[in-house]
């Protein structure tokens, strides 16, 4: 499956030659390992390159200022070529050297024409009340739709409202375009366990059947389609707890809720609280549920040896 990346998730906060953010590198490599092909619409590449040019010019100016300051104070500054010291970066080549091949897809004339129509008429996925004509985002949308239609399936990773809003849901679904607003969500679509999803599943596993018995129309086998807003804690008693929002598809349709799962005061029991329960698009009545399940939450790594190692360092004055 092709994964189309928008500039907001690929944003580099500095010159790429000084390092690509580890989460971008990790996601790209994980996605490639899953068999995905990574795509940058030319529009995205141009924007990323513009930022790179600005970062490079900023560094050159810093060098020029430093050189002038040194000279002002009579310090001999070696002859140097600022342009040569700070070069513009070819992002495709740089990612390629890291084993990450990015396919650059040029928008077609039809993509531009359709984007122009949507922008001018404020058509979906743009908001009808949009104050700005998000032409660039609409071009990327059209490229993603075209790739999904051609391949039968594609994944667009973008936080942009035009790309992620429900307005585009029907059009995306019609051509098999999946959408993710974070790398973690994208990994779930690629069949890879996201780090948050992995922990959420570990927390849900011992309570899943109890939730079903409490009347929630969850699927028989533990299967969740989306996890977000995950927060976890290694409890001092050596168990993992956490809260997160999750979605699943059950016998009554899609179900989503915000879960909070933690050890119950009685040993060998787990307290589960679900809030904002929505089933098939409608809030459940009541929309919250609290149950105590028998079982144990996952163990966290033992801390005795780690505490001892730290105490050995800081435990006494030297």
């Amino acid at each position: 499956m092709r994964v189309i990346l928008n500039s907001d998730v690929m944003h580099l906060t500095g010159l790429a030659s000084r390092g690509i953010p580890p989460h971008i590198e990790a996601f790209c490599k994980d996605a490639i390992e899953s068999g995905a092909k990574l795509v940058l619409p030319r529009t995205v590449l141009l924007e990323l390159q513009r930022f790179q040019s600005e970062y490079a010019e900023q560094r050159r100016n810093e060098l020029r200022k430093a050189s002038k300051l040194m000279t002002d104070y009579g310090v001999a500054v070696p002859i140097h070529d600022v342009e040569n010291l700070v070069k513009n970066v070819d992002l495709i080549e740089l990612f390629g050297l890291m084993g990450i091949n990015l396919e650059v897809v040029d928008p077609l004339l039809e993509d531009y024409q359709d984007a122009e129509r949507r922008a001018s008429l404020h058509l979906s996925p743009q908001s009808a009340s949009a104050k700005a004509d998000e032409m660039r985002d609409l071009v990327i949308w059209n490229v993603a739709i075209r790739i999904a239609e051609r391949d039968g399936k594609a994944l667009l990773v973008s936080r942009d409202e035009v790309h992620s809003h429900d307005r585009g849901a029907d059009e995306a679904a019609a051509v098999g375009l999946l959408r993710a607003s974070t790398f973690d969500d994208a990994l779930v679509h690629l069949g890879r366990a996201s780090p948050v999803g992995t922990l959420a599943i570990r927390l849900l596993a011992p309570v899943w059947e109890t939730l079903r018995q409490a009347g929630l129309p969850l699927p028989e086998q533990l299967a969740i389609s989306r996890v977000a807003e995950g927060t976890f804690v290694s409890e001092p008693i050596g168990r993992l707890s956490g809260s997160f929002r999750f979605s699943a598809v059950g016998s009554s349709g899609p179900i989503s809720a915000k879960a909070s799962i933690r050890p119950y005061e009685l040993e060998g029991h787990i307290e589960v609280t679900l809030r904002n329960i929505v089933i098939a698009g409608k809030p459940r009545d009541p929309d919250s549920l609290q149950v105590v399940a028998r079982g144990d939450l996952p163990s966290t790594p033992p801390i005795d040896e780690r505490i001892a190692a730290l105490r050995e360092l800081v435990g006494k004055k030297t």
Binding site: A26, D184, F232, T300, R306
Partner: protein, 142 residues
């Protein structure tokens, strides 16, 4: 304390590396611990490469995000690369490898620090080598 970390030798130093208000230490197995000193008592956030008990965290593809009590993302700890990246602390990135310490784009290597309050201090403005422990911080050494 006495230790060798990130290519530096710290001898009789109270806090080897101070990243904002957080002390960074490495044990003999090169596992990093991060200890917040801004509170009355030191709060261990990362304990030998893992989130410490009681600390709110969020795993990511590239490490562990340590969260504040209100779920604000504070910083990312990448155990594999030995990197601490500020998310909302406004501090330069800090990386500790076997033979060097990097703060932002500055590499410190092969230095010795002796009889100091702080060996390497990282602030929002940059890096200071050697100095006293800033006022208001909890005592790292028990």
């Amino acid at each position: 304390m006495n230790l060798i970390m990130g290519g530096q030798v710290f001898e009789n130093v109270r806090i080897p590396i101070l990243w904002g208000t957080r002390a960074i230490v490495q044990d003999k197995k090169s596992r990093m611990s991060v200890i917040e000193l801004a509170e009355d008592r030191p709060q261990i956030e990362i304990l030998a490469g893992q989130p410490a008990p009681g600390v709110r965290f969020r795993p990511r593809v590239d490490g562990i995000v340590v969260l504040a009590a209100d779920d604000r993302e504070l910083y990312l700890y990448n155990a594999r690369e030995g990197i601490l990246s500020s998310i909302s602390l406004g501090l330069p990135e800090c990386q500790i490898t076997a033979d060097s310490t990097r703060v932002g784009s500055t590499y410190v290597s092969g230095s010795g620090f002796s009889g100091l309050g702080v060996g390497i201090r990282v602030t929002a403005d940059g890096i200071l080598l050697g100095g006293a422990v800033p006022e208001g911080l909890a005592e790292l050494v028990a």
